[in-house]
């Protein structure tokens, strides 16, 4: 990817991280850790890869996205807002009784959300259904889904994987946000899911291992590479850092589902603003 394009994506991701932190702080609730780890892949999807139109969010020919790790609305909602699906100001309604920005993705009330998710292990199957529909209708759209590495312990993930291979869904691409942590601790301790490459290969997937899952340009390149694969679905195993961008949140499972207090928010905001300023100063 050309440097200016890569830079623009990095700036967008940095802005989205600030919005994520603000919405979780304002709500005093939300899953910030995994949202920060998956922000760069969502940036790549919505700002470089996916064919979507905020003016026509239900366009039948659009690419689809399913956030199977549905708790990461603090990544999805800011990205949708920045992409123009709804005003950024609406993020302040996150998790509020008088708002419509539900804690987990809600396809009925939040523009741009293609599938309601939140209960882990289910979004991948819905993405398979969307991909089968596209194939039946001879449409060219692609379907993307982001899964958590902890989520892969759900048996239904592997049911979905089998069906994606059976129907040769080469227009389906899953990205696993491999941050190595889940709510109770290290994924390797809670329920080991590795070796993911061999597991997905044996389930009939083309596997792309990405060591820089927090580089939106690198994710974007992998997504474009996935689009050239024929007759089998692709999974991108994206190594990421949970809490990416905020030093005291990085690689710390305690920040899976916790909101920062005022002092922590100020510190996190300062770090994220400094990161953005550095990018924009380049």
């Amino acid at each position: 990817m050309e440097p200016s394009r890569a830079h623009a994506l990095a700036v967008t991701a940095a802005k989205a991280r600030l919005l994520a932190m603000e919405m979780v702080h304002t709500a005093a609730s939300g899953h910030i850790g995994g949202s920060l780890s998956s922000m760069d892949m969502l940036t790549a999807l919505y700002f470089d890869v996916m064919n979507v139109d905020p003016e026509n969010p239900r366009d039948p020919d659009r690419d689809r996205f399913v956030l199977s790790k549905g708790h990461c609305t603090p990544a999805l909602y800011p990205i949708l807002a920045l992409r123009g699906f709804f005003p950024v100001e609406q993020l302040s309604m996150f998790r509020r009784i008088d708002g419509h920005m539900s804690g987990h993705p809600d396809m009925v009330n939040v523009p741009g959300v293609d599938m309601s998710t939140g209960s882990l292990g289910q979004g991948f199957s819905a993405a398979v259904g969307m991909a089968i529909a596209g194939k039946l209708d001879h449409k060219n759209y692609r379907v993307y889904t982001v899964l958590g590495d902890g989520e892969l312990a759900e048996g239904q993930i592997w049911e979905a994987a089998m069906s994606a291979a059976k129907y040769k869904l080469d227009h389906l691409c899953a990205i696993v946000d491999v941050n190595g942590l889940q709510i109770d601790g290290r994924t390797a301790d809670v329920m080991p899911t590795e070796p993911l490459d061999r597991k997905f290969e044996s389930f009939g997937f083309h596997v792309i291992k990405l060591i820089s899952g927090n580089d939106p340009a690198a994710v974007s390149d992998a997504l474009h590479a996935a689009a050239t694969v024929k007759d089998k679905p692709t999974v991108i195993l994206a190594a990421t850092v949970k809490g990416k961008g905020v030093s005291f949140m990085e690689n710390n499972a305690d920040w899976h589902g916790k909101a920062p207090d005022d002092a922590q928010y100020a510190a996190a905001k300062a770090e994220l603003e400094a990161g953005l300023a550095e990018l924009e100063g380049n």
Binding site: G129, A131, Q156, A160
Partner: protein, 315 residues
């Protein structure tokens, strides 16, 4: 009474008929297409038939994904797995976003017979009825099933449809004035002393019970309540006011199904005696279907006895 045919057979036949008219109809199954009778559709429309293997949870959510793209999926398996194993998938990916998925549970109730308790689902009305916005339908015979499938494909929303394993007599087709409408029960026999509100194959038994009661001078109204949700409250209220005593009858646990739906409604509107007839909070067991039904009291005799009990409580 007409010929005997299982509602699942008519389900399969009707899907094939509708396949030509509805290009968006997609039928999914989980390795039970011979039993659910979707195999006929798989032969007629192989591209629109998705055999998802023994993986019901994935099947239901794939159906949800299809529905977001404008398809009309009918996801079929045994009632136990559709409304039991995949309950949370139905809840979160079908009912919550109110998607146009038809969840179809065959072999509902004790009449599964020989396979025994693990496969005799007497809880599906309860798990499906409790979901907001869910429509729950269980036709009593083949004639009604055909119209139910037609109505459900035209209904844009989530619904659960229960099919039966056994061949049952056709009773609706020959009832004067009968017409099927989702959410509207059908009065198959009028009567003034007591009302039997039945669903599924208990409707046939209710009619036999009404014959027995009539021989004893008791006039029983029989309502075929094919749609458990939304409940036809108007018809239930009318029966309560006009007959003053009610029996509900279902091939389901008396907890959570039609009986509780009727009780729940009437208790706040027109409290009259309601006696619930069904499976009395027990698991099923193996045996010839007819013998299992008899062992659990799912018989016309028992319905008639319950009707007399309701009458005795009438003020």
């Amino acid at each position: 009474m007409g010929e005997k045919i299982a509602t699942r057979v008519v389900y399969g036949e009707t899907l094939v008929e509708l396949g030509a008219k509805y290009p968006d109809l997609i039928v999914l199954d989980a390795d039970l297409s011979g039993a659910t009778k979707t195999k006929d559709f798989s032969k007629a429309y192989p591209k629109r038939f998705l055999n998802m293997g023994i993986a019901e949870c994935n099947m239901v959510d794939v159906a949800a994904g299809l529905a977001t793209c404008g398809k009309k999926p009918f996801a079929s398996t045994f009632a136990m797995f559709a409304a039991g194993r995949a309950f949370e998938q139905v809840r979160n990916c079908v009912a919550y976003p109110h998607l146009n998925v038809k969840v179809v549970g065959s072999h509902g109730g004790l009449s599964v017979g020989e396979d025994g308790a693990t496969h005799q689902c007497c809880e599906d009305f309860a798990t499906m009825r409790v979901l907001p916005g869910m429509t729950v339908v269980c036709p009593c015979d083949g004639y009604e099933m055909k119209q139910a499938v037609q109505a459900l494909i035209d209904y844009n929303g989530p619904a659960y449809l229960r099919l039966g394993r056994l061949a049952v007599e056709t009773v609706t087709e020959f009832t004067p004035g009968y017409r099927f409408e989702l959410g509207k029960g059908a009065v198959l026999r009028d009567g003034g002393d007591v009302t039997i509100i039945a669903v599924g194959m208990m409707v046939q038994m209710a009619l036999k019970a009404a014959d027995q009661l009539l021989a004893e001078g008791i006039s029983a109204r029989v309502i075929d309540m094919h749609t458990i949700k939304p409940l036809d409250e108007e018809l239930v209220l009318k029966a309560a006011r006009e007959t003053g005593a009610i029996v509900t009858s279902e091939e389901h646990n008396i907890i959570g199904g039609l009986g509780e739906a009727v009780c729940g409604y009437l208790s706040g509107m027109c409290p009259v005696p309601v006696v619930r007839h069904g499976v009395e909070d027990k698991f099923g067991r193996s045996g010839k279907a007819q013998l299992v039904l008899e062992a659990y009291g799912l018989t016309p005799d028992r319905i008639a006895a319950k009707a007399k009990a309701a009458l005795a409580m009438k003020k």
